[in-house]
């Protein structure tokens, strides 16, 4: 068996999981479980944080190790689901290393929703929040349009590799600005409801959830890092919107 290829493939799977936003505990477990399914592996262990992976395995009394730096990518829960299914399958009916690499490539090549779809449904989400916060019909429709605007701006900015702090601040600022402008034209609308419902699109839901789950599982390094990420994101939103709202107060 080509042991180096196995190591690289397993690391690749772990990297994909971390990038798509899986919990650290799940990544560590999946990597070790996948590895143990191959015959002759005496020992496998992994150490994963948000920014890097270390993995080593022992085969015929020889231990090899690799480290891998991970950069945060775009959240992709479908990919996590697929790799999860793959690791379940590999345990019940073993496959070769090449087959595993092929499966990973297939998962990597899976399409995402197009920009138009995410824009439309992001805006539907914003309209949903409009209903949730007891908005009138006019405010709900306006939240929908501000939602479209926010998605366009944040997609444009992240395409140009702007960091997430500035990205959130600018998106939140433009949401607040457009809500204020709409309020000037249509004075019966409530600024607060429109701003809050469109803000929710920027809320770091994944970071919050994973901060909780990582901390429960005992992965304090990642738990604290994610909590800091979520807090920073919230501050960025507040700063961006506060900057705009300041002119109206």
């Amino acid at each position: 068996m080509n042991i180096e290829k196995l190591l690289n493939t397993i690391i690749e799977a772990g990297k994909m999981l971390v990038e798509s936003g899986a919990e650290v505990n799940r990544v560590e477990e999946t990597m070790v479980r996948m590895c143990r399914c191959f015959e002759g592996i005496e020992y496998a262990d992994s150490y994963v944080t948000l920014t890097g992976i270390m993995f080593s395995l022992t085969y015929e009394n020889k231990t090899i190790t690799r480290i891998c730096r991970v950069h945060t990518g775009e959240v992709d829960l479908n990919r996590i689901d697929q790799i999860n299914t793959l690791s379940r399958r590999i345990c019940s009916n073993p496959m070769s290393v090449d087959e595993l690499a092929g499966e990973l490539d297939r998962i990597k090549g899976m399409s995402r929703y197009t920009f138009k779809e995410t824009m439309l449904f992001g805006a539907v989400g914003a309209a949903g929040f409009g209903i949730f916060f007891n908005g009138t019909l006019l405010e709900i429709v306006m939240s929908f349009f501000i939602g479209i605007l926010i998605r366009c701006i944040s997609c444009f900015l992240s395409k140009h590799k702007l960091n997430s702090f500035l990205n959130n601040a600018i998106s939140a600022g433009s949401a607040a600005l457009s809500a204020q402008l709409i309020h000037q034209v249509l004075p019966q609308t409530n600024v607060d409801i429109m701003v809050i419902s469109s803000f929710m699109l920027l809320v770091p839901g994944l970071a919050i959830t994973n901060a909780i789950r990582d901390t429960i599982a005992g992965d304090y390094v990642s738990g604290v890092a994610r909590a800091a990420d979520a807090f920073l994101c919230a501050v960025a939103i507040a700063v961006g919107a506060g900057f705009v709202m300041y002119f109206w107060i």
Binding site: V75, D76, L77, A123, G125, D192, F199, M200, I249
Partner: protein, 151 residues
């Protein structure tokens, strides 16, 4: 009552569904994520309607959505986070954050601290609800597996 359930359910369903698209959930899981979000939102709004405090209602909402996502995730054999992430978002205290920020730029220190504390405790209560449910479920399924293997 029925009106409250319907309205909050539909609105949080839409919100969670939107986030499902943003997080690239595919197929059947997308709709289930929406339903779990609807359960969480409805629990929250109904407890508010029945006169519970803001913080307690958030706690009940978190309990409801965490329970639903743990059970459904095991049924569908997908990671719990798939549903939990989308469903949690309607309950995240975005309004509290916004009001804290408004009070801060008005220079109203008293209100800023008040609102900030309230927002932080809501976030803490949401975390507590999820933590409680996921710990209990983990123990429950472990015990169940042990019991079944003994048999």
């Amino acid at each position: 009552m029925v009106y409250v359930i319907l309205k909050s359910g539909i609105s949080s369903f839409l919100a969670s569904l939107g986030f499902g698209f943003l997080f690239n959930i595919k197929g059947r899981n997308l709709w289930i994520a929406g339903v779990v979000g609807a359960i969480g939102g409805a629990c929250y709004k109904v407890s508010l309607y029945l006169g519970c405090s803001e913080i307690l209602s958030n706690f009940y909402g978190a309990l409801g959505l965490a329970l639903a996502s743990e059970i459904l995730a095991r049924k569908c054999k997908t990671p719990v986070t798939t549903f939990l992430v989308c469903a949690l978002i309607p309950l995240v205290p975005g309004g509290g954050m916004y009001r804290t920020m408004l009070a801060a730029i008005r220079g109203d220190a008293q209100n800023t601290l008040n609102m900030g504390l309230q927002t932080l405790s809501i976030a803490g209560v949401l975390a507590l609800g999820i933590l409680l449910v996921s710990t209990i479920m983990r123990v429950y399924y472990q015990e169940k597996r042990k019991y079944l293997s003994k048999k």
